[in-house]
């Protein structure tokens, strides 16, 4: 930066100032729009609540030991009531406690998948879009191949081959989700490449790798975060689906998908074994979808109603 000519640096500064001033005003306006959307606000509050529940699970769960898997064979199949608000399962475990402990897996899994996707998809997309040419062609054709599979089918096959377990589910979901983000960031990079502040940086002799790292990637993070909020719900559903068919954690892990799968055998006698973990999935996914929709409305003026 020290070698920049005065004119170029003033130009850069102006560009920076214009972008940041407007974004400050805009962000205040955006927060207002976001919270005017009541569903989005409710979703955000619910997610915050669930994060608290996950952290303080031992305090929140009425029977923490059973949440982790301890059984009580004298209390099998108790229907929901004062003693057990969500009833008990086939091994006498309190369903509420297990649902509470399940929030940990439900929230941690999407976070891990998001991290993996950001680490792989975002840099690849940035490089492809910024450099263009054959590099772009190669990355995009590879994403074509991955996107040729319906996502969960590819994930199912991968976990089947890697062996069941939450770690392998996370790997499989990163493998199926990264191409979407590579494409998103590539599109951003192509338009950013032509923006004055990037052109100026290039003229000043800033190395390409530094431009990608310091300008292209940070500036494409906004849309990536919005898209991620929209996709978290889908990831939670996919984790649950893989666990449901027996590709996830082994019993007695308090995983919502696994709980439904176990409850399926007794669904006509003990519906609460299926219904409460299912509602927990539903509510959390719904909350993320509301927040995602709200964020998109804020950032995409065309979809404002």
């Amino acid at each position: 930066m020290s070698t920049a000519s005065p004119a170029a640096s003033r130009f850069l500064l102006d560009d920076w100032r214009v972008r940041h001033q407007s974004s400050l005003e805009e962000s205040r306006h955006s927060v207002r729009i976001f919270f005017r959307d009541r569903l989005a606000a409710v979703g955000l509050i619910y997610i915050a609540l669930m994060i608290a529940v996950a952290i303080f699970a031992p305090v929140v769960a009425p029977y923490p030991g059973q949440g982790r898997g301890a059984t009580d064979l004298r209390a099998r199949f108790d229907s929901p009531g004062a003693q057990h608000v969500f009833g008990t399962d086939n091994l006498g475990r309190d369903v509420l406690s297990r649902v509470v402990y399940g929030t940990r897996i439900a929230l941690v899994m999407p976070a891990i998948v998001a991290l993996g996707v950001v680490l792989i998809g975002v840099p690849l997309g940035g490089i492809a879009g910024y450099y263009g040419g054959w590099l772009d062609e190669v990355v995009m054709r590879v994403t074509d191949i991955f996107l040729a599979f319906p996502g969960l089918i590819l994930a199912m096959a991968l976990v089947a081959f890697l062996g069941p377990g939450l770690r392998n589910i996370a790997i499989a979901l990163v493998v199926t989700w990264w191409p979407w983000y590579a494409r998103l960031v590539r599109g951003m990079a192509i338009s950013l490449r032509e923006r004055p502040f990037v052109k100026a940086a290039r003229t000043m002799g800033v190395r390409d790798s530094r431009i990608v790292l310091r300008h292209i990637l940070p500036n494409s993070l906004g849309p990536v975060i919005v898209q991620m909020t929209l996709d978290v719900g889908a990831v939670i559903l996919e984790v649950a689906a893989l666990s449901f068919i027996g590709l996830g954690a082994a019993p007695p892990t308090p995983d919502w998908g696994l709980m439904i799968s176990e409850g399926r055998l007794y669904v006509f006698e003990a519906w609460w074994m299926v219904v409460f973990p299912g509602l927990a999935i539903f509510a959390l996914v719904l909350a993320f979808n509301f927040v995602g929709d709200g964020l998109r409305d804020v950032l995409d003026p065309r979809s404002r109603r």
Binding site: A148, L152, I153, M156, L158, A160, V275
Partner: protein, 340 residues
């Protein structure tokens, strides 16, 4: 770009993608920690039997030779031999396919019709109570795991209300006394073709829950899409013009605006198909329908890796081809779209 050039490019891309897909499934199957030859030969098998199994499964020879053997097998209709049943995989898949197609197409059709109708309705009544309620339903539809909906349906409509059967495709009585003869393999079509009305009405009752459970997601997606497309076309000049000319509101909404909002809806058909195929895996399992989904999940649970490879590949091929057809249909229907 002209339509013809676009077509050539897309088909070229299709060939490349199919090649890549075959490489990817092949590579995936190489990470199996267990030795498939041992699985195939069965428990207690000794050296020679395992060597023979290795030969049958084409696991001898260097990797590139194995891949070439795999691809030429694919081209000749030899998609591998199941470790579980010791039968050729492709004929089995084709046997199970019609049931899955019946389920998937019924759900997609229902999702499209209901989704477009609800989207038009909510766009018409924008901001009123019904709009709000239906939008919550739409987001709800895409927030529910299909397998959970299926189980709740079983509890509600079979266990609690006892108005619909829990699982299967026919009642025992009908299956024994009025069996459907095999024509296409899809029970609905076969009952229709052979004029077996008893079986037809019986089968329709068994279809209700699986199709509804599978249609929840597509309905939600289409409804959201068609609502916003409707709102967009309602804001355009030709609509204002029609309104100024005194064309009845109903005609404007359900004839003019609806037609013009169908294009965007078409773009989500590929997405819907993906979800319907994935959903079918779970719905078939829960409702005990003998389709590809049930076959696929059984293969996964028994690590029947040639079958897993074949099902994955098969689904990918269908998905890629349908997506291409959808894209071509969009390009053909709407000349304004820039082909690239």
């Amino acid at each position: 770009m002209s339509l013809r050039l676009y077509l050539v490019r897309r088909v070229g891309l299709l060939v490349f993608v199919l090649f890549g897909v075959s490489v990817l499934t092949f590579v995936m199957a190489r990470v199996v920690p267990a030795d498939p030859a041992v699985l195939y030969a069965g428990a207690g098998a000794r050296g020679p039997a395992i060597e023979q199994a290795r030969k049958i499964l084409r696991l001898d020879g260097p990797l590139y030779e194995q891949y070439l053997g795999y691809v030429s097998g694919l081209a000749h209709g030899d998609w591998g031999t199941s470790l579980r049943t010791h039968r050729a995989v492709l004929p089995d898949i084709l046997t199970f396919l019609p049931v899955t197609l019946e389920l998937v197409f019924s759900a997609l059709l229902l999702g499209l019709l209901a989704g477009v109708a609800l989207g038009a309705l909510t766009a018409d009544r924008k901001g009123r109570a019904i709009d709000f309620v239906m939008r919550i339903f739409a987001v709800g539809g895409v927030s529910l795991p299909a397998f959970f909906v299926a189980l709740v349906f079983q509890v509600l409509f079979f266990r609690a209300l006892n108005v619909l059967p829990a699982a299967g495709m026919f009642s025992v009585d009908v299956a024994q006394n009025y069996p459907v003869s095999h024509v296409t393999g899809a029970p609905l079509l076969d009952a229709l073709i052979t004029g077996n009305l008893t079986a037809l009405s019986d089968h329709l009752r068994y279809m209700v829950l699986p199709v509804l459970a599978l249609a929840a997601y597509p309905t939600g997606v289409v409804m959201r899409m068609s609502r916003s497309a409707m709102l967009e076309s309602l804001g355009q000049d030709y609509i204002r013009m029609a309104r100024a000319m005194g064309v009845p509101r109903r005609t404007i909404i359900y004839r003019f605006a609806l037609k013009n909002s169908l294009g965007p809806v078409l773009t989500v058909v590929g997405l819907m198909l993906a979800y319907a195929i994935i959903g079918a895996f779970f719905i078939e399992l829960i409702f005990a329908w003998p389709g590809i989904g049930t076959y696929g999940t059984m293969s996964i649970l028994s690590l029947d890796y040639p079958a897993i490879m074949a099902v994955t590949l098969f689904v990918a091929v269908i998905y890629v081809v349908v997506n291409l057809l959808v894209d071509l249909a969009i390009a053909w229907l709407d000349p304004r779209i820039v082909l690239s």
